[in-house]
Symmetry: none
Subunit: 182 residues, 4 copies
């Protein structure tokens, strides 16, 4: 079996088990059992449980950063930019729903390293919003309102209540109308 096949099996298994049991209640033995490989194999690919988690987190945050970069460059009206950016982000997170749960509900609990990644990604999005609202005098407050609102819909509606992406986007769009005015 090729090296990367096994790593993919381990990553998939890790995502699944982390999602089901949370970071702290996940045992490396759970992951290898799920992946169908030996205990030692895990340590060929990852230095530790934390290292594996970090790998997954980076996998997702890098995709998030790509989306930010894409919309930063796109020439759209403020509202369209915000809404379509949200749409794509929500879709990404919905696709990786289980990973997202780790990211949003457990990430910051693990240790400083993960909190930093979380804060960093947040700051990138905030910067993107502020840039988008650079013509407004309260750009930062707008950014915070939208970030908070977006995160809330993400956490509660998308992830906890398992509402469809469509529903979330619609609600977000309504909110944006209120926040930015019609």
């Amino acid at each position: 079996m090729s090296q990367s096949d096994t790593k993919v099996k381990l990553i998939d298994a890790a995502v699944k088990v982390f999602s089901e049991k949370g970071y702290f209640n996940t045992r490396v033995s759970d992951i290898v059992k799920e992946a169908g490989v030996a205990q030692g194999t895990f340590y060929i690919y990852f230095k530790s449980k934390e290292d594996a988690f970090l790998f997954i987190v980076n996998m997702v945050t890098s995709q998030m950063e790509d989306i930010i970069e894409k919309y930063r460059r796109l020439d759209l009206s403020q509202k369209d930019k915000i809404i379509r950016f949200a749409e794509e982000s929500y879709n990404l997170i919905s696709d990786y729903r289980e990973i997202a749960k780790i990211l949003f509900f457990q990430l910051m609990c693990v240790d400083e390293k993960f909190k930093e990644i979380y804060v960093e990604t947040n700051n990138k999005i905030k910067t993107f919003y502020i840039e988008t609202f650079k013509n407004k005098k309260n750009a930062e407050i707008f950014a915070d309102i939208i970030l908070g609102f977006g995160k809330r819909l993400l956490e509660f509606d998308l992830l906890m209540d398992d509402k469809p992406v469509k529903h979330v986007i619609d609600k977000f769009t309504s909110g944006i109308q209120i926040i930015l005015g019609d």
Copy 2:
């Protein structure tokens, strides 16, 4: 209703250690060392580590619920109600800053029991907002926007950046002007 000195010592120690190390990295041995009592004494007052954490959480959420109840009954303009409710909540959380960090950054990671408490308290606040906005047709979206915005300021400005409560309230007030219109 008074608690024994030893229990108070244990609670204070638990709050301190949980705050510093997080739930999963806190050892019962850390707590008893901090409290200056023997290992076994812990188990006279709490069934388990989880039980001690739960006790602390309930201690704080019950105060939060008192505030909700108080403002639900208070006859104020929407804006004033929202802002003064936020003010008092932020003050409570600022007073119990370390406990709040557990609540907001770790609560949900522990297990379903704690996630439920978090969601329940959130829902109580949301219900309070919806009730407040019962004259608006988009009451729920308003609630979500404000909850998200408030939580964001709480997490990032108050808890992570350690900004003073005054600063947070001002920012919240500005946001509310934008959201509710002047």
Copy 3:
């Protein structure tokens, strides 16, 4: 059971198992089984396997140092001093024969820390010899000859061949006659 009872049991067991299996082939599980205590109990008294070994080593080297100190102060002829010092040392080592095997056959293999203790004790004995021969112009060479000879008898005759102390002392005495002249 008192704290020190358990520690004594663990030390005795550790000495026995280390003696039988050598440092590297000794498992903490062997020691606790021999001591009749639980695995975790070991770690109440010792930080690690290495720590336990170090404790034993220090126990013995400190007795060796007492003997050195005693003979340094004793007013005897050179030959008598050397021979009676050797006698007492060989008796100590014979009493703690098993510990001595660890000290002489395994000590230095473990790591720098143990090599240092070995070298340090050696240097103390050498200094004692040089002091004793301070009237001779080749004091250091005499010290090296006697140390080497003494160690050889210790290693081969006393420890490996299990010759009685009496035999070793007699041989040592004969050697000393040759080295120091009659």
Copy 4:
């Protein structure tokens, strides 16, 4: 009799790594990395880690035996024989300084097999000495004194303190004058 390139690479690597890390702290993975071959290749040439170590040990002891054989046959005065034998031995060991450290500081710790080789080589040297002193009534004690003295200089001066061979030979010569008389 010539060995494959790969085996030579493995032997050189093993000598280097064993020398640097000691037997127990050397991993087969360290050796193959140093040799630049794959993990499995090691097991084509050696049955196990122990087998590789044994190979190296035999490589060196056989050279030592050649020296013994050479001086046994050489017709020289006792003193000259002893001193020139020592000179050649010290040179061999100095050339293979790193291997010697394994031999003298770790050999006996590994297991019975290695202790036996050590004792056997020692006995060959002792027999050589006794043979040399066969005219003396205390031949064995002379042998033990010189062996002990020689080993001490080897261990402490040559190997630990890295003194030059010349220094060690000079010291040995002085000692021999004392032991055998002028």
